[in-house]
Point group: C2
Chain length 209, copies 2
């Protein structure tokens, strides 16, 4: 390391932010360390100051993804609803609303990484699993409260339904990639919302309609 070189936490964040952009567009395996450095405007020296390997970087990128998306969802307006079912439906409407971008901008970093590496890199698989299940657990909290209030005798489990919402989102992203546009993903979110409404015997108009 040259005496004049400084490595700041800001450079670490810039590298992790670059992962969101580059890996979501190119996939994990096709992304080279050089691609991340170029997107971040930083050197390989900086990369290897912060991360021991591309794999270590991917594990940290999954945690960074959880942090960035966690902040996005925590600040979203659907939390303001008093009724937990309105919060659940508001969450689904929010997920649908943020599809109005280019495909690489709305798809999921950890869904992409686990698709490629689940069998070859357990550390990345586990980091992606933590990210997906951690977000599902947040969704499950409101689903559990909504179930107690509106469907206490239902046989489905809130945790299972929360994981299902994430499966629908992940699959919707794949169809959006195949069709090169968000329309099919929006349709999938409409089916998911109808399912949740029917589980609660509770048709609600979308908050943006």
């Amino acid at each position: 390391m040259a005496a004049t070189t400084t490595y700041t936490s800001d450079s670490r964040t810039r590298l992790l932010d670059a992962a969101l952009k580059v890996i979501r567009a190119k996939g994990y395996s096709a992304t080279r360390v050089e691609d991340i450095c170029e997107a971040a405007g930083l050197s390989k020296g900086s990369f290897f100051h912060h991360f021991t390997s591309k794999q270590h970087f991917a594990v940290e990128a999954a945690a960074h993804w959880s942090s960035v998306t966690g902040s996005l969802f925590a600040a979203a307006p659907y939390h303001d609803h008093a009724d937990p079912l309105d919060r659940v439906l508001g969450y689904l409407d929010f997920r649908r609303a943020i599809l109005c971008r280019e495909v690489p901008e709305f798809t999921c970093l950890v869904g992409t990484m686990v698709q490629e590496t689940y069998d070859t890199c357990p550390a990345i698989r586990e980091a992606c699993e933590r990210s997906i299940s951690g977000h599902a657990a947040e969704v499950a909290k409101d689903l559990e409260l909504a179930k107690r209030l509106h469907a206490p005798d239902a046989t489905w489990m809130a945790e299972s339904l929360a994981l299902y919402t994430q499966a629908v989102l992940q699959g919707a992203f794949i169809l959006a990639k195949a069709r090169n546009g968000s329309r099919v993903a929006e349709d999938c979110l409409d089916h998911l919302r109808r399912y949740v409404e029917m589980l609660f015997h509770h048709p609600h108009p979308r908050s943006d309609s």
Copy 2:
């Protein structure tokens, strides 16, 4: 090409069959031509006799996937039901039943390839889109017949619902990869089945239960 070397259609099929095994386990980008040749027990000469590039191979592998899975579904017993709704529910039960394997054996070649290459390789994206939409169109035929018979006034479209079934499957595969087991995917198929039953106001027990 050496005078003694022969390249048969059988070697082409062996290479394409190897794609199903290797790419589903390692992902598309991480798979090298050498990995395909090794799994098929064939030389790179044979590979490049049949395919001009790895990308050309991937496009042909997507078509091969449609052919192999098309035969599997065409031969499945759910087609024997007289009522199209029973065929739809039988299809979902069949999809759930074939999850009882190791993760790399039940996940989707074209879902994996399009996840990685949608933005960097239009030819592969389009080949994967043809495969997914082609299969969805088969599912849509029975859904359309079932809708005419059992839910003629419903506002949902058979084609959209068929695509939704494929999104749920693709997302269920991602969660199964993250969790390293099929259980979560089975749960997703149960949610999907319940949704279809509710759309038809028609609870049906699973054919294997």
